[in-house]
Amino acid sequence: MATIARDVVASSKTARAAARPTLRQMIAERDRLTAETGHYCGVTELTLRDADPIKYERFYAKLHSAVLAARESARFVAASPGSREMGECLWGIATPEGDTLAVSLGFLSHTVIFPVSVRYMAEHDYDVNDGIDDGDVYAVSDGLTGGVPHPGDFYSFVPICVDGEIVAWAIGINHLMENGAPVAGSWATFAVDTFMDGLVCPPMRTGRNLKQESWWRAIWERRTRAATMNILDDKMRLAGCAMVHAATHALIEEFGIDYYKRAIREVIEESRRMVVDNMRDTMVPGTYNGCAFRLVKYKGLQHVWSHADKNTLIHVRGSIEPNEKGLMLDAEGSSKWGYHSYNATPGGVDCAVFLGMINSFSHNTKVTAGIDLAVQRHYPKGSIYNPDNEFTSNANLWAQTVALNSIGFGAVSRAMFARGYLEEAFTVDGNWGAFQGQGTTDDGTTYGFTNFEWLGGTGRGAWCYKDGEPLVWAAWSQMATIGDAEEFESTIPPLFYLGRKLLPGYFGYGKYRGGPGNSAVHWCVQPGKHIGLTRPNGGLSCTPSVGLGMSGAYPGPGSFMISARDTNLDALIAEGETPRDARELLEMVDDGRLTVDNLEIWKTDCPELALKNNDLFVDAAGSSGGWGDPLDRDPLAVIADLNDGTCPNYDFVHAMHGVVAMQDGAGQWQLDREATLAKRADLRRQRLAESIPAEQWWREERRAVEARDFVPEVTEMYGQSLSFPKFRDEFTRFWQLPADFSCGEE
């Protein structure tokens, strides 16, 4: 009997499905109409808006308030600090095809993955076999099929159906505290392929009727190390989706399904037009180029996975070209994918590059898929952004894709500067940090964790008219906050803050300096049976996070960390003097106050660091770049930085800015204006004396290029990038080399 009952249900579904287009057909129709007309879904006239703008805006306000309310209510269901206190979550509502209609506050660029997930479900007939019903719950955390930037970000999709027809999706997202990879945390550094990325879910149904099925809880409990927080986060996402689900049904009830179906198309077309207008109003047409580099230092650390036991220098190359439809972002010339955790997928890299695009061009309109339509992307097949291997790891793609975002976002800054909108022009950097790991307490309790603090708030790069600010910038969220220290202390039982502060001198120098980066000293106390941590980062200090300074300034330095194991911390605590940041720690080591048996400075990814009682872990991240020639800096600004401790090293700024000063009896620095003028004149003469004409420089460098006189990582990087015609053409024409010049890879 049970079998017959299921058959009856199935045939009923089949009959319903036959009467309306499948999801696959709906997506094909959207694509066709949009491509043929250049307008979203063929909407050339905003008839509803123009006929009754008040009704139209009331409709959208209700839609928007639904996702805003979801965030403001549902995140208080959650346990994880990243979602509750920081910007690490988002709710959205999308069309049946997955195109964003409205998003809450939070990390809004994640909207661009919605259509990737829905397209995958459509192309694999999820709605046909065995159907998508109102209130179903789908989990997504896969980059390739779901567009997810990295599996640490987890998505819940809830279809909203009317009379069996999908009319919308409610979607909730947050960054997990731990996602069950071999390397504990939420960015699985050292992953070699997707099988080491942790809990990776292609779109899969995990619940019905707005309720997760029982087995799903077992997944969190058995496949991640922070089940309690992850289960509560799962409830948070679903609670928010349930709110959006209810609000959307009420909205359709109020406005009618016909109005709803037309209005959602107009909303996206309206914002697309606004975005394109904004681009035209603020950009200068042309070609903007940028580059960045990120080292992967696996050599010697991947003995088990011999094919991954190598170093890789990732080349991030981007160009932006405004056009009639909006603008084109081209990543051709970037490295190929590799056996490391830094690969992206097209959806994942979209998630990064739309940070700047949404912030720059959707500020005065509805945040919808309109921006998605206006930004065309080229991620060549085989590149790190579009691997021709479906099993690449993308556990830590943020560590390099954020640099591509900085290149695109930086192009907007260059354009604003050229057009005179100087108030908007600033140096875009993307140097974030975090740490993660796992532990076992004395009573055997295990836990996994991520500390997001230096992801939540970083220094903003210098503006073209003033210094950058510390901590206020997070390209990935509107709400820059580093979270409460106590939250992270409760999340990671053995780690306590000895210091958490801005790191003096840690920024890019220029006429205007970047916002200083941050540093914290974590003290390990009674770690129980074990605590080990690793660190993902937006850029490590062996390379800056972006390759080009702005208008003669230096880009911000990358992040780094220090492990100080086997210390005399007990003695220091007894004396009441402990280090508060990386600089203080190194000074105390240098002058002998802090003794460390095992001191390691990590300018690249560190393998798991196991900590014992009184060991210290120190990190620094969030620096940002300057703007303008350092010799143009107001000498009094240099003096102010010396006196308030922003710049700790007189000799350094004396040589950098040509400022001459002396300390008075109270220890305050006083400017010697005449000597400063003379010093600056000297430094200009020194610049000319120590530099060579570009022609001479080119001849000398060309010899090294011809001889491929590089470290192996650089040679391999060029080998990969030269396999893409656009970069090959640029490279060989610049260096006047044969078109078939190679660096070992074609």
Binding site: R280, A553, Y554, F560, L688, R733, Q736
Partner: protein, 187 residues
Amino acid sequence: MSNDYAVSRELIGQLVDGTIDQDNTERLLKMPRKDKARFFNYIAVLQERVQWPQRILLRIGDHLYIVAKAQGERVVKCDCGHEFGDYRHNWKLGCRIRSRKTLEAMSQVFDPAPAVPEPGWQEVREFFCPECATQHAVEVVAPGYPVVMELLPDLDKFYREYLGQPLADESPEWYQDRTPEVTARWV
């Protein structure tokens, strides 16, 4: 919303000088749409400040401009008057270049010590005006990396389609990166 927002040349001058106050900065940042007259007001402010007569077509750096010369050329020009040549050639190749390739050399421009880039994988390039020694650009790139053309503007399109005031010497020849012509002469 109307687009009739007005931003005075005085305020634009304060932006250029870095003397604008926080209230005015916020007012500008919060404008729903940018003032369309800004570009030509900006150019007027800049034109008053330079010591040479050529028309500024675009400002591309604190001290760098693309200007129109009487002979029909469009060249990159420094505040000090030095000309870097045709704007289709990367102006960086008209600079003097100082390279920092060692840890010691890079430590003079990055701080603190653990934040200094790694020699071999990266080098710092500083681009100076040959006359006034202004540092116009900094690159931190892999050794052997082609000098980056940061922006090649399509000036004809900008003036005709974006500003509605076409340039007199429009030509399809302008929007081209001709940097390889420079290095070809150096072989």
